[in-house]
Amino acid sequence: MRNLLLALRNLLRNRRRTLSTLLAIVVGTQSILLFGGYSRGIIYGTQTEFVKRSGHLQIQRKGYYLYGGGNPAAYGISDYQQIIDAVQHDPVLAPMLTVVTPTLQLGGIAGNFAAGVSRTVIGTGIDVDDQNKLQAWNDYGFPAINNGKPLSLTGTAPDAAVVGMGVARVLHLCRKLKVPDCKQEAPPDPAPPPESANAAAAPADISDLARGEPGEPAANDSAARIEVLAADTHGAPNVVSLSVVEAGNQGIKELDDVFLMMHLEEAQRLIYGRSAPQVTGIVVQLQHTGQIAPARARLRELLAASFPGQELDVLDFATINPTYGQFISFFNAIFGFIAILMGVIVLFTVSNTMNTSIVERTVEIGTLRAIGMRRRGIQMLFIYEGLVLGILGVVLGVMITLLLAAVVNHSGLSYVPPGRVDQVLYFIWLSGKQNLLFILGIAATLILLVMGSAWWPAHRAAKMEIVNALRHV
């Protein structure tokens, strides 16, 4: 304590120099923490998005991830309801689980045959209630923008679907679905395209297929209807007619252009027809991301023991969404660069300050040595000054950073991130207990760095010859 006070007094001797050094430490701390908070916001925000969309783990047929994308028929999981039950009632897994829900992914062609347009889509069949539960995941306490808003499919008819805005544009559904930026769409009451004079309705073979399906709702002119064509388990074409209830922005253009979401039963009807329905994935969402490893281990054990007939694999969200890992390494690289840059600046500023101060106090150092202070004592004198400088600068820096972060987070400033089509709010994630360790870690590292920057000058001071130091003018 006495040493710290002495250090503080010595620092106050040259206030201007101390202040400018503090400023460097404060700015360094700020830059590191602000960028750290920003990149953590993006990394954990992305993670939250992935987990909300597709859970932490997915049970799939072996090889589905690499080879099965276009072939749900060959990689379907049968008896999936039993698997889900087993997972949900497993004593090890149960306490970790939030949602276990089946999904069916399929590739197909969506057509608005009334307008003579079609495009390939990637469709997902989902259980709406389960998906709404998935969407509620917010383990990091993010101020989520559309939290609590249920999926548009909630409470809709069995043939309802949601498409991406890109899909809606291509399928000339802009007007009906109120999609912005649709200049190319034909005006109301378009003249039928010349080459399809008989295409006011779907081609006969397509409508035949659709008519064969049970529960076909009555045609409704005001609804946006599409037909989705896919290959069934036997490779034969099958069609369902869907009523599009909404065109939603999926954030990423590539996804927005192929996105189709429908009720699981409808998707199963399209792929498996009247044979036993299957799914391509069972989404498992956990309470915490940290539970992935034990949960996966237990899942593998359980699946191998109870369902040896199907070769099942358990993939985590980072494997299924490789961009997640790319985000992390990208931001970590920039963060590392900024941290090192700032660290070097702080190091040089502090050691320069210390060197100047040591030269100025050479006679003092000689005097202290003369009256019996050991070399180590001299060194500690300056290291303590580094410590005080570090604590002051870093604490100040952290406080200002938290303030700035709060200002930014409440400012409503937004930007369009690369690869996305929607606005994202600037968000610096430094609040909450998940960030405490991060902030403390950075703070402690910086304080140690400042102390370390004082170490070498202090070592030089300690090595001075007493008589030379006393002769110094």
Partner: protein
């Protein structure tokens, strides 16, 4: 036993390629409980000699015994501890720590010698009293005159109760009146505390006060005059 004995001590400074012999073959005994003055022209080697006796520097030749102990073999740390317990220093430029008050400056050597708090307090109070600065205890050096600063420095030098106090031209930066007062104070304190004081000075007033007086010229002792002061009282 003499507090300080020098045997064939030599010290040479090396400046670039030139050797500057600052002290040549010094044989010297400092008597205990005495006021010893070393005088000589500028550059004669007074400071060098004091630095060697004060264990601030090591000789190139010869041997120095302090209180009978050869200091040559002591490590740097041991020498520091030795200085902290046994030696006091007064400087021409006072060399007080500017961030510490008069009280704290006097207390500082006691902290280095790890003296308990109560002893520290008593000793600092009585020393400030002895140098007539009780009322300035809370002042920093910047708020004190040159004479007052040197009095604080005297109190600091005496606080660890050293056996020997070294003072290299302690009055050179003071006007003659203040200088005389400081010399008188040191003389009084030297008697009251039964310590040895070793001075360097060209000041005739200082030499008049001396028990023992030594002349140095070109790095050699050219005369030693011993007064009547009794060593036995130490």
């Amino acid at each position: 036993m003499h507090p300080i004995v020098l045997k064939n001590v030599g010290k040479t400074y090396k400046l670039d390629a030139v050797d500057i012999p600052a002290l040549i073959d010094i044989n010297l005994e400092i008597r205990g409980n005495c006021f010893t003055v070393i005088s000589g022209p500028s550059g004669s080697g007074k400071t060098t000699l004091l630095n060697l006796m004060g264990c601030l520097d090591r000789p190139d030749q010869g041997e120095i015994l302090i209180a009978g102990q050869p200091v040559k073999d002591l490590s740097d740390d041991a020498l520091s501890d030795f200085r902290a317990r046994n030696l006091g220093f007064i400087f021409q430029n006072f060399n007080l720590l500017p961030v510490l008050t008069a009280y704290e400056n006097v207390e500082y050597p006691l902290l280095l010698a790890q003296v308990p708090a109560k002893v520290r307090r008593d000793r600092v109070r009585s020393l400030l009293d002895a140098v007539g600065l009780s009322d300035k205890a809370g002042h920093r050096p910047g708020q004190l005159s040159g004479g007052q600063r040197q009095r604080v420095a005297i109190a600091r030098a005496l606080s660890p109760e050293p056996k020997v106090v070294f003072a290299d031209e302690p009055t050179a930066n003071l006007d003659s009146e203040t200088g005389s007062a400081i010399i008188a104070l040191m003389r009084r304190i030297q008697r009251d505390h039964h310590v040895s004081f070793i001075f360097s000075s060209h000041d005739p007033k200082v030499m008049l006060q001396a028990d023992d007086s030594m002349q140095i010229r070109d790095g050699r002792i050219i005369s030693v005059e011993r007064g009547a002061a009794a060593e036995g009282s130490a």
